[in-house]
């Protein structure tokens, strides 16, 4: 599903990602680790199509509608409620039975009670939970998650563990983390960036 040949990214003279070869088959679960500044986020942004490589080749066999992306930013409107945010994305992604799916996601991630509150009033952890709902709402074939456990409390992290376990084998997952042991049982391949 993802095939990279000597893909690299530079911003001017600064190299954000060293030339990298990568192959991830459909249904694979790739865990990317590396120190700060090693290029983890850059790699994920390239795969998501949010940045263009400056060298090498990158093929991602998933259209925009088949991709779920969770970055460092929640990609949410702070002055909209959780329901309004998910409804907007649900419409744009043409999610079937949108309202039921949104309700199910909010229930699952413990946000149903605060569904009518503005995102601006959420804690960092609640915002991260809602960002996960947004990324998973349309049941993507390819899930690109940049440090998804960031800011989650123990309960939120367990919810995500269960979600990832369900997705493993069915969806293709590309995930960066500083806690590789947490997802080690699910990983089909690993990549350590230097």
């Amino acid at each position: 599903m993802i095939h990279a040949r000597a893909v690299e990214k530079r911003y001017g003279r600064r190299r954000a990602l060293r030339p990298l070869d990568l192959r991830l088959e459909r249904g694979g679960f790739l865990v990317v680790t590396g120190a700060n500044g090693s290029g983890k986020t850059t790699l994920l942004r390239l795969v998501a199509g949010l940045a263009a490589p400056t060298g090498g080749e990158l093929d991602v066999d998933a259209g925009r509608g088949a991709l779920g992306y969770l970055g460092h930013e929640p990609l949410l409107y702070r002055d909209l409620t959780a329901l309004e945010n998910l409804d907007l994305y649900g419409r744009l992604y043409r999610v079937p039975e949108r309202r039921e799916r949104i309700g199910m996601m909010l229930e699952r991630y413990g946000l149903w009670e605060v569904r009518a509150e503005r995102v601006a009033s959420y804690s960092r952890g609640m915002t991260q939970r809602l960002a996960l709902c947004r990324a998973l709402l349309h049941e993507p074939e390819l899930l690109v998650l940049d440090e998804p456990f960031t800011a989650l409390d123990a309960e939120g992290a367990e919810l995500l563990d269960r979600q990832l376990a369900e997705l493993a084998g069915t969806a293709t997952v590309l995930l960066t983390t500083h806690e590789p042991a947490r997802v080690e049982p699910l990983a089909t391949s690993r990549l350590a960036l230097a």
Binding site: G49, G71, R94
Partner: protein, 212 residues
């Protein structure tokens, strides 16, 4: 029809955000009214109507600029623009939805500003009002695209006026011409042509503005 459903959803989101946060409209309204008051006292008694019409357009263009500077602020906070860019809908729908919302804001402001102008200076003819409406389309089409380009820059407050004002000159020429000329039809046609050409250009080029 999915395209227009996306445009409607995106425009509705902007209207909802403005109704809730009230960040932009009150500021635009205060700006245009205070500008007209300043012009009222600045223009010498007995100054001709043509000068007043010109000042109306100065007020409208700078009020629009104020709104455009805030147009993409909700998308900047929280990275929501990337969320929209990743969605499978046509990216030009993002521009069209935003342009439609900006058009509504501008039209609401003018609902107050034009009567205020008539009160301070002189009543407006139908051709002048039509000129304002046509110019709004051009302002929203071009301004929304340029505001998206500027939003990606750290110096967005400087870049937007520098990009927008030169491209707004034909709109001011057309608008003032439609207001004071003995043959306003020519100027209205000119505004319509400007709108058509720039709307198509902006619609086609938005994809490149939001792609790296």
């Amino acid at each position: 029809m999915n395209y227009f459903a996306d445009v409607a959803a995106l425009a509705r989101k902007d209207l909802r955000l403005e109704l809730r946060a009230r960040d932009t409209l009150p500021a635009m309204l205060l700006f245009v009214l205070s500008t007209l008051v300043v012009f009222h006292f600045a223009l010498p008694t007995g100054a001709d109507e043509v000068a007043a019409q010109g000042l109306l357009w100065v007020a409208l263009v700078f009020t629009a600029l104020l709104g455009l500077a805030r147009a993409w602020a909700p998308e900047r906070e929280g990275g929501a623009l990337e969320g929209l860019v990743l969605a499978p809908s046509d990216r030009s729908a993002i521009w069209l939805g935003k342009s439609a919302a900006v058009f509504v804001f501008l039209a609401l402001i003018e609902l107050v500003a034009l009567p205020a102008f008539a009160l301070f200076f002189s009543p407006l003819q139908a051709e002048a009002v039509l000129g304002v409406l046509l110019a709004n389309i051009g302002i929203c089409a071009v301004g929304t695209l340029l505001a998206a380009m500027a939003a990606a820059s750290r110096t967005r407050e400087l870049i937007l006026p520098l990009l927008f004002l030169p491209l707004a000159i034909p709109l001011v020429v057309g608008g003032v011409g439609a207001s004071v000329s003995t043959d306003p039809g020519r100027y209205l046609m000119f505004l319509g042509l400007y709108d058509a050409v720039f709307a198509i250009l902006c619609w086609a080029s938005f994809e490149y503005v939001v792609s790296e």
